[in-house]
Amino acid sequence: MSREYPVSLVFADTKTLLSLVDAISSLADDVYINISEEGLLKIIAIDPAKVSMIEVEFPQESFLEYKVQRPLRVGISTKNLSTAMEDVKRQNRVSLQADEENIEIMIEGIPRRRFLFRSLELPSEEIPRLEIEYPGKASVQPDPFASALSDLTAIANYITFKLDPNMLELREADTQKRYVRLTRENGSLLESTASEEVSADYDASYLSPISKLVKISTAVDVWLGSGIPLKLEMGLTPSGKIIYYLAPRA
């Protein structure tokens, strides 16, 4: 007998969902999903050491079907999420149904698969809400930024981000020898609001899963300040966004 769920959603873009699950699984153990009646699904995941946090917003347009009878907050372990998304193809339709206790993920492919998970107990402490004043923001082309991230995270333990009015530089922090520059001249830097140079070091292992998300995004904004968390805002097709925060090196 099938259950009646107050929330029933069908994702429009399976490819984005796959990349997202892949990235989140390598960072966090659990994800929390807020589903509003007004047509916004928000995913929040924070890693166990609270060094990084990822927020994803999918508006109603990101779904083929968005039926929400009442707002809901559920939690699921990333291990379960990865299990459900294993072997999912881009052309498969992924739907999510949930109530306060259960989350059901349905994969419409061959064969058709249905996964039922108990919702995780939501943390008593609030997920951190970050409101930071950033001295600089750079808008960059997603492709060269994704390549810079994947190249440097493959060789570096830490990456120095440096932003000035004309350039965003990513440099291997320990030896300072290898770097990638995104500049206005080469077209990879679209805009920089930094009035003076700002820089900070970030852990490469927390950036490497993000490069795949950058690659599928339509636009990327990099928010930076000396010694404060990095903020990456990535636009998604057809709509929606991913915001990623990463604490700086001590």
């Binding site: 166990p48 050491a49 946090m53 809400r129 970050l130 968390p229 604490a247």
Partner: protein, 416 residues
């Protein structure tokens, strides 16, 4: 016959030291090892017939898998030889005593396909019979030639000389351990469940890995002989996973706890931190130690896992799981979870591999002692800074857990 030594030690040093001050820089005295060993395995004992009380000990090699060598072993003496297999007792011995003990275990080798365990022949039945015994078993081995060689390995405890086995006879009535006997005759019980059942019943991990290794566990048709080194790691891994499943749901410890143990030119350090489960095992091998004989500086190798554990095999090897089991056991006893930083420094002179038991037992022992307690990771690291010989900065550069504990977290930027 010419006797050769792999280490050249000036004779005048030995004369001055006489096995008491380790002037040669080694962690044990090679002359004492040789003489202890000779007391047990004298030249005239190394013949084609071996009689003795097997602790019981059976070693399975991994070369040629799935056709492997299996060696029932015994020292050439009768009596209570159970301490030959008791790793909890080995840490109370000097390295000389331990090495001479283990190197006097004489092995009779047979070549066998691992699948033979599902349909054992007469010889394998006898090996099973002795393996499931909880007391030493008197055996008589007829060998093809006088035994020679020996085993020194990072994963398994040392073993003495061997020769192909012609025939094995069991001369006493083995007294089966009732728990092992139960799982041995249960042909519908999976190995994993059998391992957990045996551990919960109080059977020590050495005995569990021995019975797994000889192919005495698992569903009847799937029973396989498992090379000893794989069996040891499998048991450490399965049991630590089993304990951690509960530990991860327990409350976190209240303060940072620092444990230190120095033994046989090895330094073990554990820092348990009041956060959810994370774990790292790091080893710094100094030049002149077992795995860094030619280096010019200490080489650090480290592996780790976050709260969800790991899916792949740690590059650092079996020590990772041996240490993880020791920590999981301690946390389980406390009914608490924590993140664990475990570092080991291996100094010049400790130049023989002795097996992962050395790590497991020393960490068990270390964690049973009284720790230094503090409220901050900075103070915990400050405490170990002067005890470590590798600069703390080098350790921190490789560390995963310490780096996470030290690093800035997003909490620091929370909206107040």
């Amino acid at each position: 016959m010419e006797k050769r030594s792999i280490v050249k030690i000036p004779s005048e040093l030995c004369v001055r030291c006489r096995g008491s001050r380790y002037l040669c820089g080694l962690g044990y005295c090679p002359i004492l090892v040789e003489s202890f060993k000779r007391n047990i395995v004298s030249e005239n004992i190394l013949r084609e017939e071996i009689k003795g009380s097997s602790p019981p000990t059976v070693f399975v090699g991994r070369i040629g898998y799935p056709n492997v060598m299996m060696y029932p072993s015994s020292p050439p003496l009768y009596g209570d030889t159970s301490y030959y297999e008791r790793s909890d007792k080995w840490i109370e011995l000097s390295l000389e005593e331990f090495l001479s003990l283990r190197l006097s275990l004489i092995r009779g080798g047979i070549k066998i396909n691992v699948k033979k365990a599902s349909d054992p022949d007469e010889t394998l039945m006898k090996i099973h019979e002795m393996s499931i015994s909880e007391k030493p078993v008197n055996i008589y081995m007829r060998l093809e030639r006088p035994p020679r060689g020996g085993v020194l390995s990072e994963e398994i405890p040392p073993l003495g000389p061997w020769s192909p086995l012609k025939k094995i006879f069991i001369e006493s009535n083995p007294k089966s351990n009732r728990y092992i006997e139960k799982v041995y005759y249960d042909h519908d019980l999976r190995s994993r469940e059998a391992i957990i059942y045996l551990y919960s019943s109080g059977v020590d991990v050495n005995s569990i890995s021995r019975v797994l290794s000889v192919g005495a566990l698992g569903m009847r048709r799937n029973r396989k002989i498992v090379p000893t080194r794989w069996a040891i790691t499998a048991v450490d891994s399965i049991l630590s996973d089993h304990l951690l499943r509960s530990v991860k749901e327990m409350p976190v410890i209240d303060r940072f706890k620092v444990f230190i143990r120095e033994i046989h030119r090895n330094l073990f350090i554990a820092i348990l931190a009041p956060t959810k489960w994370m774990f790292e095992w790091g080893e710094a091998w100094f030049p002149g130690s077992t795995w860094n004989p030619w280096g010019s500086e200490a080489e650090i190798e480290l592996d780790y896992e976050g709260f969800s554990g790991r899916d792949d095999y740690p590059s650092i090897g079996g020590c990772y799981y041996a240490s993880r089991l020791a920590v999981a056991e301690r946390l389980y006893t406390w009914r608490r979870q924590a993140s664990a930083i475990l570092w080991r420094e291996i100094y010049p002179g400790f130049n023989i591999p002795v097996g992962v038991w050395f790590v497991r037992e020393n960490i068990r022992k270390m964690l049973s002692e009284k720790p230094f307690e503090t409220d901050s990771i900075e103070e915990a690291l400050d405490y170990v800074k002067n005890i470590l010989r590798v600069p703390l900065e080098r350790w921190l550069k490789r560390s995963y857990v310490a780096r996470l504990l030290l690093g800035r977290r997003l909490d620091d930027y929370l909206k107040r």
